[in-house]
Amino acid sequence: MEKEPAGECRDFMTGNEVIARAALAAGADFMFGYPITPQNEIMHHWRRLAPQQGRGFLQTEDELSAGFAAIGAIISGKAAFSATAGPGTVLFQEPLSMAEMMRLPVVVAVQQRGGPSTATVIYSQQELTLTCFGGNGEGLRLVYSTSSHQELYDYTIKAFHKAWRYRFPTFILGDGYQAKMREALQLYDPVRRGIGDIPKEAIFGSVRAGETEPLLHLRNSFSVEEELSEVLERHLADYARAAPALVEHEFIGVPGGELLVVAHGIVGRAARQAVQELRGMGRPVNFFRPITLRPFPEDALREALQMSGGAVLVAESAQGQLGNLVRLAASGEGLPDFRSYYRPGVGITAEEIKEAVLDERALDAAVLAPGE
């Protein structure tokens, strides 16, 4: 039997445990958590494993406190994170908007559940818009949508690194299925793989981009419009500059395709399988899965659309939250043929996507583009 590389092992576990293991492996210092299904086991596993490695945990009085306490830890230069879902994600918008304004690298794992309101504790993809654009600002966030346990592990580690490097709140966007199901994955030590340590530092005393003096006073309120505008312009420019290095996607396809199937997260996984089966039947169907939802891989999507004759089918467990991002990215393309398979709060299988491609009666007729 082949020997595992140093610091690596194959394992089989739930997605929630994967996130806790990945945060530990990444070198996260502290988790602040509040119970909400389906993310609870992230806290459970962290709470059991973290003290052995000198890492901290606090169960706070609510999600607001969890988010703001993470901010406090980060201010002192510690890599802190939290995890939440559904109505908890709603409450998290308050601390996250402060993190956006103050450029604080808060990391949050979101395991989507049904919405709106309490809805279900099971599964959905309805927290896309909230995770990308929640808060009273411009959505200056990094959002990774995962589709396997290996990605949960890889992107949780990456989330800490990118958050601290670029100083934007960063999310691992999973869902109840990914949270609760068990799957095999390779665990590894990011330092031994050359990924290194989280580039963290105390916020006070650091010299921030565009400044010359070490930071002594940090604010989120401004007296006049021009003061705010100057700060926001700098943040927006930083975001735009970082975006090309941050965007990630998966594409399977060739030029001359008849259709591009677009899906993210676990539905992306079903869509990939559907496309592979359709291609096996001789149908030239292409597949696109955005991995970063913020920033969105717009250029790559446009290229994929051009290779697919401008025909697109968006499948998601929400009513067009991904569809809207696709329409926006493709607005210059005219989108001659936009189809959707929206099932808010409900899982989507490869068979269903395959059927939607093969039989237009399975599509959402009402949302076909005008003139179709």
Binding site: S65, F68, G72, L216, S221
Partner: protein, 246 residues
């Protein structure tokens, strides 16, 4: 050092400060500054202020200072202290932030016995937003949302913070109420509250303060309201924590 001069840890570039004439915030922050000077804590301290008038203190000191959100200063400082126990943290807030929108954080921090120092300025109104009723508004007091005077039957009785915390706080917690009418005593309370944090204990000081802008009072009326009306409902002094055997 004379208590009539500026504390050493006051950030000179941000003075004169931005509070209204007659506002008590400057006196509370003077008491805090003097206490920090006396204990020599300027190198270890981090100060966080709430939203409301207290946000104007965001660059008040030579040590790190930050703004937070309305009611959320305590969780920010709890998180910082938990992750970096060597830092000395001060959470500075008004009565709206501490006793209304952020009350769950204040009570939870007291109940957990988090080693932080919280300083709350009680001026009986939401001042920054234009003088609405606060949990601390006195019976009969006129505000923009109690224009005919606060009616206890409609809005309840004014909130006594330290006395409420006494029911949940750890026996070693320090709870006190001072007043800007007696700055040296207020300074001693805040100094004690910082020393308790150094010993690993939760400490909370409420400071009775003035808001002539929203009270619409003259200097004499302002002082009279602070000393007479407020002082008789909110008794200054240290508040005993409920003992295990009680």
């Amino acid at each position: 050092m004379s208590e009539h001069s500026m504390p050493q840890c006051w950030h000179r570039e941000s003075k004169p400060h931005r509070f209204c004439p007659g506002c008590g915030h400057g006196l509370v922050l003077k008491a805090l500054g003097l206490a920090v000077d006396e204990l020599g804590l300027a190198e270890r301290i981090i100060f966080a202020c709430d939203i409301g008038c207290s946000l104007l203190a965001w660059d008040f000191f030579t040590f790190p200072c930050m703004q937070t959100h309305h009611g959320r200063t305590i969780p920010v400082m709890v998180g910082l202290k938990r992750a970096s126990p060597d830092r000395i943290v001060v959470a500075y807030m008004g009565d709206g932030g501490g006793y209304s929108i952020g009350l769950q954080h204040l009570i939870s921090a007291a109940q957990r016995h988090d080693p932080i120092t919280a300083v709350l300025v009680n001026n009986t109104v939401y001042a920054m937003t234009g003088g609405q009723m606060a949990p601390t508004t006195l019976p009969g007091q006129r505000t923009e949302t109690t224009p005919f005077g606060r009616d206890e039957a409609d809005t309840g009785r004014p909130f006594r913070g330290p006395e409420t915390l006494a029911a949940v706080a750890h026996p070693r917690a320090y709870l006190a109420r001072g007043t800007v009418a007696r700055v040296p005593r207020l300074k001693n309370m805040i100094r004690e509250a910082l020393e308790r944090q150094l010993q690993g204990d939760f400490a909370f000081v409420e400071a009775l303060s003035t808001c002539p802008t929203n009270w619409r009072t003259s200097a004499a009326e302002t002082w009279s309201f602070l000393e007479q009306e407020m002082g008789s409902y909110y008794r200054p002094g240290e508040i005993a924590v409920a003992r295990e055997e009680d």
